[in-house]
Subunit: 212 residues, 2 copies
Amino acid sequence: MSIRHAMLALLQERPMHGYQLRQEFESRTGGTWPLNIGQAYTTLQRLERDGLVEPVHSADGEPERFRLTAAGRDQAGSWWSTPVERGAPARDELAIKLALAVTLPGVDVEEVARAQRTETMRALQDYARLKRRIPADVDGTDLAWSLVLDSLVFQAEAEMRWLDHVEGRVVARRGAVNGTATAATSRADAAPPPAPDVDATPTAARRGKARR
Amino acid sequence: MSIRHAMLALLQERPMHGYQLRQEFESRTGGTWPLNIGQAYTTLQRLERDGLVEPVHSADGEPERFRLTAAGRDQAGSWWSTPVERGAPARDELAIKLALAVTLPGVDVEEVARAQRTETMRALQDYARLKRRIPADVDGTDLAWSLVLDSLVFQAEAEMRWLDHVEGRVVARRGAVNGTATAATSRADAAPPPAPDVDATPTAARRGKARR
DNA sequence: CGACACATGTAACACGTTACATGATTTG
DNA sequence: CAAATCATGTAACGTGTTACATGTGTCG
């Protein structure tokens, strides 16, 4: 439900053809979410079929643009005024994976968490690198891309904290199971992760943890 | 790529039939990600086609179960050892939406952010309510579900912080545009997060804020 | 009996991905 | 001229959703 809406949103600005839509979309998101061109056309077809856009006939051999219909403007408007759903059916692959890991025998949860931490740290470093390329005096597009990057950073940092949290819970539980009903406590931790530590990143996820 | 893997993971424990797979999956994730039964069967078909599972013939009229083949065990194993990708093509609907909002005329970014904040707060309250239902002495399944919930909370909190951040940037920019060419000024908040508290339980979002 | 849980499927559709085919125009 | 960019599409496939059809067994 997203590219469809993104295309409606872009067409609010001015009529465009498929190729333009892709370019505008990608430039505003800095290349996160590369929009494959095939989909742009099939989505345009569906939008036309649903009466949300209509072709604008341009002179000579110019590529045909599409403009929003009244219904299209409505849809776009209601997209803006409706928040992205954050509710019950929350599908998060990582969370599911770790949840399964803790319930299945023969799966080393801490190892899984450790590997994920490494991957997430790597991503954070990528984000930091990309961030350095954004000019100081942002124009509209730079601001957009910068905010998307920040979003990724915020999420990745939350993920790091959650992974800490998971390890804490798992260690605590293992202690409780081994030591007869000895609630919690247990030793600091098994293996303090590699901790590559991001340099000039916002709040470079501070590794270290002294939980418990 | 997720339900497929989840099903392989569950079959590591023991052979199951479609209906069981759904039940096990849903109980371990507390109902987040309700798995529609139709998909369970089509996915099982594909897994069988790909030689990752095979039917176990049971006596009488019992429902037929599936067990992992050697190839299936391999796939499951490599899923565990490969982290969830956190890379370039990061598709986050909310981030894209706000990014488009800041670049398009006639869209009230702050209103969009405000509406989203309300929705996310609502979700946080739901999570808190669900959390209260989890017994204190967790068994494996409770722990799994509890961790999934925590993940949702961590993410929602990160989202709240990001929304604050977005509003900060937008307000700063509006000031810079209005106030004649006053560049620089609040470049300060270009560096993100307040970096929250990681205690054993994610903080039930402290709202309050005196934005504006 | 009727409702409900168990159990297995099919059909139609939306969305997204990769890959391919086809041409026009621009530019080194 | 060759290569890149502009521009438009189609095909096949995977994945996920909703909805429907069909039966068995159990329990109040």
